[in-house]
Structure formats: C-alpha cells, structure tokens
C-alpha cells in the first residue's frame, strides 16, 4: 500500500470528540485508527480540562463545607494541607479515566497512534511519532483536534504566567494570583486557588463575569466570589504586564483610569482558540477560517465530503458534551446513517460554588432577538433542601413563551445546578410547557423540586412562596 497504515475511518485528536467518534465508528463496523499527540487518550477534557478541574473543585467544596459545619457544631479547625497529595489524587482520578479509555479502545480494536498528525493529501495523514513519520490512509477522516488556550501578545513569556493547564499542575499556591478573564474556567480555577490559600483577583473586560449567563443568575456567584476574592474588576482591561523580580506588575485600565498592581502569578484564562490551522488542512483541500475554525454542515461534513470535523475545532460552544454529540453524528454519517445535528439546546455549566447552569434561551438573548418571554423565578431561600444544606443563595429561573406556555430556557444557580439543568434540557427537547413541568411530581425535599416550583410560579399555583 502507498501508506504505512490504513483504516476505513481515521480520527485525529482523541479528546471527547475524537475518542467518541472513533468508538462509535468501530461499533458501527468500521476499521478505525485514532491519532493523538498526547501521552494518554482523553484530550483536553480528561487530561487538562473538565476532569482535573472538577477534582480540585471537589476538594475546595469539601473545604468550604467543613468550614461551614464548624459553625454548626462540628469544628474542624484548619486542616493540614499537602499540595503534593492533592496533586497526586487529581492525577489518579485522571489516570483512572484515561486508562479506562485505553481499555475501551482495545476492546473495540481501535488502533491508536501517538503522534502529531497533518494531512498528507485528501486521503492521507502524516503522523510524526517517536519512531519517525508514519503515513495513514483513509476512506473517511474525522478532524477532532480541539482547541488551545489563547495567549495575549502583550504578556511576557515568564514561568509566573500560566494558562489553565499550568494552573491545574498546581506547582505552588501563589500568594497573590491574578486571574485574567472571568469566564467559566477563570472563575472555577480562581475559586480553587482561593480555597487553597491564594489571594485571588479577577479582571474581566465585560460588565459581568461569565457573560453567557444572565446577570440575576450570576448574582449569587458574584456575591460569594466577591466576599472571598481580593477583588473582581469588571469592565477593566489589562494593558501591560511587566515581569519584575519581585512580581508581575500589571497595568489595568478602567474607563479613563489606570492603575498598577503586583502579583506573584497570572492565570490567563481569556478563551480558547481552535487548532484548525495546525493540521495542513489545505493539503486535503479542507477550508479553515482565519481564526482556525473548520466549518461543517449539519452532518458534520467539511467542504470535502469524506472529511468531517467535530468538537471545539468546529465552533462554539466549546464544550465536551457538544463534541461527543457531534462525534456520534459524524461516525453515523460515515456509516451511512441519515444522522444530522438536530439538538435544540446545549446546556452550559460553571462548576463554581454556587454552580451556575443555563440552557436554551437566556433573558439577554431574548432581549437581543426581540423574543417576548415570561420568566418565573423560584428563590432557593424557600427551598427546604437548600437550607438543610446550610445555603440559601440559589435560584431557579425558567423562561416561557407567554402564548404557548412552552419552556424556552432556564438559568439555575446553586448547589448541583449542573445536574438540575438536564431536566430542563429534556423538557425543551420534548416541547414541554409550564404545566407539564408543574404537574410532574418532583421529590421533596430536593433541589430539583425548584424546577417544578418555578413552573408553578409561572402557572400561579405555587404554595411555597
């Protein structure tokens, strides 16, 4: 053969998108090769994203709760904190999952190649491996190369400037940490470092943190974070960073005012850029836009029909569950199924404390798009379960079409919000209306009850407010 290796379907990138596509394709009878340059399968999400961040957030959460129950009769005092052990535990969680993936690949006879892949032509990848270059030919390819942290040009190369990957390495707990970017990743990692002992400042250009969510939904997080962080600077720009011996001197600009402040570390969390430009896509004729995104149709096909793309590299939202959903579609399309992306909504979650989750239409979007919605809010102050967890700072907001009463969206903030939002996602997909949700008996006392109760607020049948 002209190539060293061949498979029906070759997938490049073994993140949630890539491994899911490879496994689904194999389950549908294809021979599959999965190429990734990492040491382990799982991509960003498992190795340096979703999973390690959630493991650290879990530790932080337990520390918060231990502190809180100390006021309620179970006094823990200050724990002895061993950063090495925390890091090891985080690693063990990641390894268990990436090891699991390896087993799943083997079980499915998916061949994995460790190396960096670029197109060698419309039916070939060239993979740079430890043993040299290998060529891999295919009938169909799936590009799942994901994204990388955005770097800011005016920030110097300095070991004290880290991105999310660096932050998750937990090299040390800096005394003064500046988080550049108040999005999901910045807020999650900021809370971890604050809990582990850093004095955390967050700077965000937009007028609110986590700009995708509505302001009222963000408010409880903003309140809690503000009381624990040193400060949260909104509508503020970083215009310069100077690497001095005793700190990184940052210049902030808010309106006309500028200010300088020193930090021990800076975590840059201003977004992620797609990796589309790094795979010699032009060699295969695959179009990549100037930002590095690869455009696909609803079947996940690029402009070259036998080459598909999925996950972060095809566009926003850059979320693991979107990548997996697209992965299944791509594999099914290649297998000849008539699948297409048809999901009505993709939920978003910030795994902060409190958690913030939203799905479907937000109030901001409704306003922008001129869609008239009626909102119904259930404040968790009236939730027995939330109070029994020592917390009263959540809320469940549902947005309905005032005419059809159909559910259009939801924003939830509070403990387990990320779990609760799934019910609303299903409700939206099924076209449920307020009464469908209100008349579904939710177990008491749970937090999920708040979804039913918010629907009762809409219906005017609520008796818990």
């Amino acid at each position: 053969p002209r190539s060293d290796l061949h498979a029906d379907t070759v997938v490049v990138g073994a993140g949630p998108g890539g491994y899911s596509a490879a496994f689904r394709a194999a389950d549908l009878g294809q021979s599959v090769i999965l190429i990734d340059n990492g040491d382990t399968l799982g991509g960003v999400c498992l190795n340096v994203g979703c999973i390690p961040s959630k493991a650290l957030l879990h530790i932080a959460k337990v520390m918060d709760e231990a502190e809180e129950v100390s006021a309620h009769g179970v006094d823990y005092g200050t724990p002895s904190f061993n950063l090495d052990k925390v890091r090891d535990w985080k690693k063990s969680v990641v390894s268990r999952l990436t090891g699991g993936l390896k087993g799943l690949a083997r079980k499915r006879k998916v061949t994995t190649i460790q190396g960096f892949g670029t197109f060698g032509g419309p039916n070939q990848f060239v993979v740079s491996t430890a043993e040299g270059k290998k060529t891999v030919s295919f009938q169909n390819a799936i590009i799942a190369v994901g994204s990388s942290p955005v770097k800011l040009p005016f920030i110097p190369e300095d070991p004290r400037v880290i991105d999310s990957t660096g932050a998750l390495e937990l090299e040390d707990i800096p005394k003064r940490l500046l988080v550049l970017g108040g999005g999901i990743i910045g807020m999650e990692l900021g809370q971890v470092y604050q809990r582990f002992g850093s004095q955390v400042s967050v700077v965000e250009m937009m007028p609110q943190i986590i700009p995708g969510a509505d302001k009222d939904v963000i408010a409880p997080l903003m309140k809690r974070a503000s009381s624990r962080f040193k400060e949260i600077m909104l509508q503020t720009q970083v215009t310069a960073v100077e690497a001095a011996a005793d700190g990184l001197i940052v210049t902030f600009k808010k309106g006309e005012e500028t200010r300088r402040e020193a930090y021990d570390k800076i975590l840059v969390a201003v977004g992620r850029a797609p990796n589309g430009k790094k795979i010699a896509a032009e060699t295969a004729g695959v179009a990549v836009d100037e930002r590095g995104f690869i455009k696909v149709d609803r079947q996940m096909r690029t402009n070259i029909p036998h080459i598909l793309a999925i996950g972060d590299v095809v566009g926003q939202p850059m979320l693991a569950h979107k990548a997996v959903h697209e992965a299944h579609i791509a594999a099914e399309v290649i297998a000849g199924h008539k699948a297409a992306f048809d999901a009505a909504v993709i939920p978003s979650v910030a795994y902060t404390d409190p958690e913030v989750a939203w799905v479907g239409l937000t109030e901001n979007e409704a306003k922008e798009q001129g869609i008239i919605v009626k909102k119904a809010v259930f404040p968790w102050m009236a939730s027995g379960r939330s109070l029994a967890m020592g917390r009263d700072d959540g809320l469940t907001k549902l947005l309905f079409d005032p005419k059809t009463k159909r559910i259009l969206g939801a924003g939830i903030v509070g403990q387990n919000a990320g779990d609760l939002i799934a019910e609303v996602a299903l409700a939206i997909e099924l076209g449920a209306d307020a009464e469908d949700i209100a008349l579904t008996i939710h177990p008491h006392p749970t937090l999920s009850e708040s979804v039913g109760l918010a629907a009762e607020v809409f219906e005017g049948t609520i008796t818990d407010l």
């Binding site: 199924h337 008539k338 699948a339 297409a340 048809d342 059809t404 159909r406 997909e429 099924l430 076209g431």
Partner: protein
C-alpha cells in the same frame, strides 16, 4: 418549527420526511410516532416504516 421529540425528529430525518407536512395529534399539536406512522402509510411510504 413543528413540535416533535428528538426521536420523532430523528426518524423523520431517516425517512426523509419534512415534519412541517405532518399534523400532530399529541398535546399542543405535538407530532407523535403514531402521526409519523400514519403519514408514512398514507403517503405510500409504508416500506420505510421501521418498527
């Protein structure tokens, strides 16, 4: 947009049927699997019905 659940939408896609042509008999006019079955039978596409 016609109101139908993900599985009805997927089946319609597989059968090459535009949901806009189908009248839903479910709550709030929701298009049900039964409506899709009836449409397929009435439009002579019976062979495409999957159990």
């Amino acid at each position: 947009k016609p109101l139908a659940s993900p599985s009805v939408r997927r089946r319609a896609l597989e059968a090459g049927i535009r949901l806009a042509y189908i009248r839903g008999t479910g709550p709030a006019g929701r298009i049900l699997h039964e409506d899709l079955d009836a449409y397929i039978v009435s439009s002579g596409q019976g062979a495409m019905v999957q159990p």
